[in-house]
Amino acid sequence: MYMPNKMKRARLLAAVMIIIAVIATSRAVNAQGQRQPQNRVNDLPSVRGYDPGHDIAYDPTDPYIALEYLNWQFEGVWADIDSGNLDVRKYNSRAPQAEDYTDPNRPNPTPNTPKLTPNAGRVFREIRSMILAGNNPAQAVGWCFLAHPPTTSIWNHFMFTPDAMNVSIPGGNGVLYTHIYMDGRGHPPNVKPTELGHGIARWEGEWLVIDQVGFVADRDLEIGLLNSDQQHIVTRYRRVWPDILEAVYTITDPKVFTEPWTVKRRFRRVSMDINLSRDPQHCVVNANKPDESGGGNQLLSPEGEQLPLVPVK
């Protein structure tokens, strides 16, 4: 059959392209088969500074290799990307300055606001009024004084050992550190209240579930929203992307909430470096020293401005 040269060339070109496509597909399949399972892809950090200097082995049947792999998954520094507020729907809001949780008639109430007990509401209102007046007592607690998760979970370093995990929260000239048991034990019957409480943890599939009790009272959940010694926090961590960590907090506190408060926060892995930028200014230079003349604090704002003095009652 007669076929013009142009058509012959076209058919030849098409055949060559098909062959190339088949070969490419075949190679891709082979490559896929040789790679780790799909769920291992994107498991490891992708941020600057990730250079272990050797291949990261993956073998879930080898406890040590699995532990090393887990540590690599959580390696690095995780920074809060939800502006320090517990509820992601309150981006960039300045609760409680922005909202009086105790006012049922307030405009545009944030969904999922905490349901406060009468006493907690009274304390909240008093602190909020001070904040709105420019005297922020939360500075003394939220920035430079110890608080426990979730408030201070702004920076995290996770470390897993065979039977425990350690979390550090770098701060001014030092780090907060808590040891969380993962050996199956429960909370002791009489927990002595401490700043970081008593923590136990377990894995539920992909969720890392941390259960903490035994906190000292009067630390802030959000700025100005204080906890009691009855606080019980269950935090569920999940890596939703290689460098994104989701935390779901369920906070029970019968002295503060009339029902459990569940909120979310997300963290982004920002660095693999260990040289976190610690800020000695807030917590060392301005070590909450009372002003001898006025009796209030001598704290500076993040911008370095002197905050109004708060009279000491």
Partner: protein, 253 residues
């Protein structure tokens, strides 16, 4: 070698470790001994400039002990007050004082508080008990082929009171390389080599930790500081294991 971290986690991470003769690498026996003004033969080999600084520091310390003894360092804090527990009358701001021993490197290594190790394949925590509660995170090599020789301090590393450190294994010895140590923070007396011995921001150190018995660790520390020291200063300390001590939250920051 790869599994060394796991072995240490099962051994060194049990209990806490207490240094013999705290606060000094040299042969001073106590802060009072140091403040007495006597000279010791194994003192840090300070340059003339830093000898003068050390002498001035001791002079201040003889008048105000907290100037050299961070264990006496008092901070003034404020809290919201006991609103939910023992104080029905809520006090929004309530000042109180607390003794905040803030130990910097390398004094932190020989502070009197018990020390705890935590080992994971990729990192080490070293945590000291007590109100100061200082701790440090150390990048640890998973093997001699791991971080060793590959980890570098970034060029923009910020000096810190505890410095920044990475570790590797040399046989049975845990080697920790520390650098970028802040010489001082305002109002703190703990950022010294040992009590009364200042250093510069050029200081670096190599620690070699070795288990010498079931319940004893030995630290060989070599400190280099081209500004403050005339030569590297190598010292040794022994740590004893104590069981049954729980970590106490730090009350300072």
């Amino acid at each position: 070698m790869r599994r060394r971290a796991l072995a240490l986690q099962e051994d060194w991470a049990r209990g806490m470790w207490v240094v013999r003769t705290p606060n000094f690498f040299s042969s001073y026996t106590s802060v009072d001994d140091y403040l007495s003004g006597r000279a010791v033969p194994d003192a840090a080999p300070l340059t003339p400039e830093y000898q003068a600084k050390a002498a001035a520091l001791r002079e201040v310390g003889q008048k105000d002990r907290a100037a050299v003894d961070t264990g006496q360092f008092v901070q003034y804090l404020m809290t919201m007050g006991a609103s939910f527990n023992d104080d029905p009358n809520f006090v929004p701001l309530k000042p109180f004082t607390v003794v905040c021993p803030l130990y910097g490197y390398s004094l932190a290594l020989i502070q009197p508080n018990p020390m705890r190790w935590e080992f994971a394949p990729t990192k080490i925590f070293q945590v000291w008990n007590g109100a100061g509660g200082i701790s440090r995170l150390i990048k640890a090599g998973v093997s001699n082929e791991g971080f060793k020789g590959k980890f570098r301090f970034p060029g923009n590393t910020i000096h810190d009171g505890m410095g920044w450190a990475f570790a590797s294994w040399d046989g049975e010895v845990l080697t920790i390389d520390t650098n970028y140590v802040a010489p001082e923070y305002e109002g703190e007396s703990g950022d010294v080599l040992e009590i009364g011995v200042p250093h510069s921001d050029k200081m670096s150190a190599i620690e070699r930790w070795r288990q010498t018995g079931p319940n004893t660790l030995e630290l060989e520390l070599t400190i280099t500081d081209p500004v403050a020291l005339t030569r590297p200063w190598t010292v040794r300390k022994v740590y004893d294991r104590r069981m049954g001590i729980e970590i106490v939250d730090r009350q300072c920051h």
